[in-house]
């Protein structure tokens, strides 16, 4: 009788546990658990919330699917990397303590990317120009993934993709063309076809803060930005192509809001699918009060007063079949990268400049070098860190034709683990030769249903006309 009671009680307790604890709570994958355990140990609410976000059923499901598809995850890859042991999650590296970690930090920024360290120390290319110092909050590596739409489209269509004449992509329909890239060119095509990390995008407004030699903000410019993909669509119907626009990869439109001498300038840029066909660039020029075609081939001039050109839009927007280059994977390694920050970069007046504070983590990357074959091209070479899980570019170095480091760029990604959507937090580009910095402040919405075509045509321009 006594034993019978014990058995019944044990059964009830077991059954209660089964129903009381969410299924899977004990089954969170190791890549979530390590994040959650660390977050809990810090007691920091932001970290704890992020750990919970990573553990949602949708996130875990999508994370597993990407892991299964790629055959790896970043957490496992990084775990094998033993360099720079002092740079651990929880550490906050600032200009005040960076000297202590300088040697190890430089190990984590190979292939020239230790300009991030110089940025904190005012050394190297930042000597005399360290007005955008960093506070690096080190967090654990995240198993990250890109949008579910890319995953499904890649599974469906990538087998038809190949590199054709003039390094052009052939056979692409949607998604990543080369999920298992064999060379640098395939990595570059992957990033190119991620386009804006979605089917469409608004940034209202996109603000350019422009900073001069003295580190002071010398101008601010605001625009409304719209973008739409016409092929390769995987999130917002119709899929994969908008009927009637099969010849167009993507269109973007802008209208300038501020300051007054820029206000009203509007433009529609069309990138054609034909690898040899140049962009169309039709504008409304308010000073002329006229719709005017500008040269779509003029992609190398800086945009407004910033340090970015059309070639740099989203990090890389070069029509590579028109501007031939040599592509090389110069390394595959684990580096320190901006992490997936759930909140915008924090800015504060510190260390003699506007300090940025955001999360950084170790990530497995391909290091890609693109060396231009054209002596007249704006850049001699570019070097990228490309994330092995999301296929997204993380940081970039631009060299001029003389081989000097000219511009540097990083940003962190805003990321929704539930569906894998990535978009940009505060891209930062500095011209270290001319000592000028551009910080972009996006307000992005991705994948809007029913985005009107009237944002991308002559009607849009004529409606901006006053």
């Amino acid at each position: 009788m006594y034993m019978k009671r014990i058995v019944i009680i044990a059964f009830l307790i077991s059954a209660g546990l089964v129903f009381a604890v969410p299924s899977g709570a004990e089954q969170v994958p190791p890549w979530v658990k390590q994040w959650q355990d660390w977050a809990k140990s810090t007691g920091n609410q932001d970290f704890i919330e992020w750990g919970q976000k990573l553990a949602s059923p949708e996130a875990i499901k999508l994370g597993k699917e990407w892991e299964e598809f790629l055959g790896y995850n970043a957490v496992d890859m990084v775990a094998k990397d033993t360099k720079a042991p002092s740079i651990k999650p929880g550490l906050v590296i600032t200009p005040e303590n960076v000297a202590k970690y300088e040697k190890e930090l430089r190990e984590l920024f190979p292939y020239g990317f230790d300009w991030e360290v110089d940025r904190m120390m005012g050394k190297g290319v930042y000597a005399g120009y360290n007005y955008s110092p960093l506070e690096m909050v080190i967090v654990p590596t995240t198993h990250a993934w890109n949008d579910r739409g890319y995953l499904e489209a890649t599974k469906k269509y990538s087998s038809t993709c190949k590199i054709g004449a003039n390094d052009a992509l052939e056979g692409w329909v949607a998604g990543l063309p080369f999920p298992k890239p064999k060379n640098a060119l395939e990595i570059v095509h992957n990033y190119d076809r991620l386009t804006i990390m979605g089917d469409n995008l608004n940034s209202m407004p996109l603000q350019f803060g422009l900073y001069g030699k003295d580190g002071q903000r010398e101008r601010v410019e605001k625009i409304e930005l719209h973008w739409n993909n016409y092929v390769g669509r995987m999130k917002v119907p119709p899929f994969p192509t908008i009927p009637g626009f099969e010849d167009i990869y993507e269109k973007g439109s802008i209208v300038a809001l501020f300051p007054y001498d820029l206000k009203g300038f509007a433009a529609v840029r069309t990138r054609y699918a034909d690898p040899k066909k140049e962009d169309s660039f039709v504008t409304y020029v308010p000073s002329m009060r006229r719709i005017r075609r500008l040269a779509g081939t003029n992609t190398q001039d800086p945009l407004v007063g910033s340090d970015l050109s059309w070639e740099d839009w989203k990090g890389y927007w070069c029509k590579l079949s028109i501007h031939p280059s040599d592509y090389e994977i110069v390394g595959e390694t684990v580096v320190l990268c901006p992490s997936f920050n759930p909140k915008p970069i924090e800015y504060s007046e510190k260390y003699g400049g506007w300090a940025q504070r955001y999360w950084w983590e170790r990530r497995p990357v391909w290091v890609v070098k693109i060396k231009s074959k054209e002596p007249t091209y704006v850049y001699g070479a570019r070097v990228w860190y490309v994330d092995k899980e999301t296929f997204a570019m993380q940081q970039e170095i631009f060299y001029d034709q003389k081989g000097r480091i000219w511009k540097l760029w990083d940003w962190c990604w805003r990321w929704n683990p539930d569906n894998g959507e990535l978009d940009y937090w505060n891209p930062y580009m500095v011209d270290v030769i001319n000592k000028h910095t551009s910080i972009l402040n996006h307000h992005i919405i991705l994948n809007m249903p029913n985005l009107s075509e009237d944002l991308f045509n002559l009607r849009y321009l004529s409606e901006q006309a006053h």
Partner: protein, 545 residues
Amino acid sequence: MLFVMAALVFYPQSVLAAADTTGKVDTGGMYTLFGKQMKINGFITQESAWGVDPVYSGKNLTDYFSAQIEWEYKLTPDFSLYGINRVLGDMAYAMHDDTSWYEKATSTPAQKSRSERNLSWETNRDDRAGEIVRELYADIKTTYVNFRIGKQQVVWGESDGLRLMDCINPQDLRREFNLRDSDEGYRYTRIPLWLIQTSIFPKIEPFGIRDLHFDFILNPGKPKVNLLEAYQSAGGVWAAAEPNLPTGVRVQLANKDPHTNINNAEFGVRMVGDLNGWLFTLNGFYGKQQDFVLKPTGPNLVIPRWDGRFLQLNFNQEYAIRKLVGFTINKELTDIRFQKTTSPVLRVEALYEFDKPLQYEGKHTGDMAWTGLNGAYAGEYKKNKDQLRSMVGIDWNIYIRPLNERESFFFSTQLFVFHTFNQDGVFVNAPFYFTSKVNHEVLPPLPPSRDSSRIDPWKIHQTQKYWTFLVTTNYDNKRIVPEVLYLYDMEEHAHGLKAKINFNYGSAWRPEIGFLGWWGDTDTGKSFGLFQKNREVYAKLKYQF
């Protein structure tokens, strides 16, 4: 109380006014008024110019002050109000009130009462271009049709500098002639009109034409005319100076601007589309001429001779009907590249004007049919001729890295060809007719007066060609912007040049320094020679918000 109310209803729009990465707040001119989006921007500018031609060497020719507010009030996503309010004046009138050179420069004895202070402020009663309400219109959008109703500018065409298909609004050329804002598309000198503009977007692609739409323009009967004052009749140092006239003779022009009348209604229609990268328009216009021809109304004696002249030649300014059709096209010529980088953009524009009235000289120079004094040409002061006006232009961004490592140079060149059909006889730009020798004559040469050395009219050539060239680039992240614009009249061998540098430091202040100059025949005032006296250097300081 007003301020309290304003504070309650008028505040920076929250999203757009949010602090940026530096914590600084910029509204960007965005506000909310009664819960609706309101954009307000504008500028205040003070400019000063000093003469460099011997006529006005070192003289402070002008001191323009302008303040402009541009606003848009979005009542719904599909209905908004837009306006530009402006005051523009020339402080030189006040600063040089008592100087004889300025009085002489800004008026003739005969026109003094009309010209004095006319251009001192646009708000003056006699200034025909009052612009306090420079533009005011409503925008209404529907799925297929947009309306813009009110006082507005409508700009057609592809040409810069010379206006061909840009035929809807007239232009105020009384300040710095055509170089005041030619490099800015005449946005400040074009005269807005009360118009109804209807744009239809059929959302179809016939024959592969993308972005097809149609514009219909209706001016219900309030046309205006180009303002370029011959004989300094409206004053200003920039008015075309009084031409050479015989001693004791003066000319009286009677302004006969078209009245507001339904019979003076104007119509324009335009089709726009993009066919395989060729952006094209087809245009048509019916309305009033914006430039006058002189209609002689007979001479009379001046009694008493209060200005020392005894004979007055009287003319009416006549504005006839204008009918034209035309087209524009543009395309980037991507098969042509400069050092594998950029391609040129081709711009072409042409119009055919029917029955354009031209001032008639007669079969031979010296017949002076336009004066009404030659009995052989009774009533033949003008003749109507068809005219073709065309422009071919190329824009090209070219990288010259040794001169500018970061940015391209923008080159733009245009060739204009105007051709008058069946031009039997001689046609002239009438007021600019006599040489300076005539100043020593008591009576005008009486027609016919062929082979007179006192006659050298500014002729209307059967084929007239102009060439323009513009180059600009940007330095220091577009903060230093030099620009040179050159104009050449290939028939009269006259030149115009504007060179300037803009300094775009910060978001608010926009200083500019520059030079304007013309070279030509100053004796009979042919072409740009009319304004050679006005060569100047200038400085502007603009505060924009």
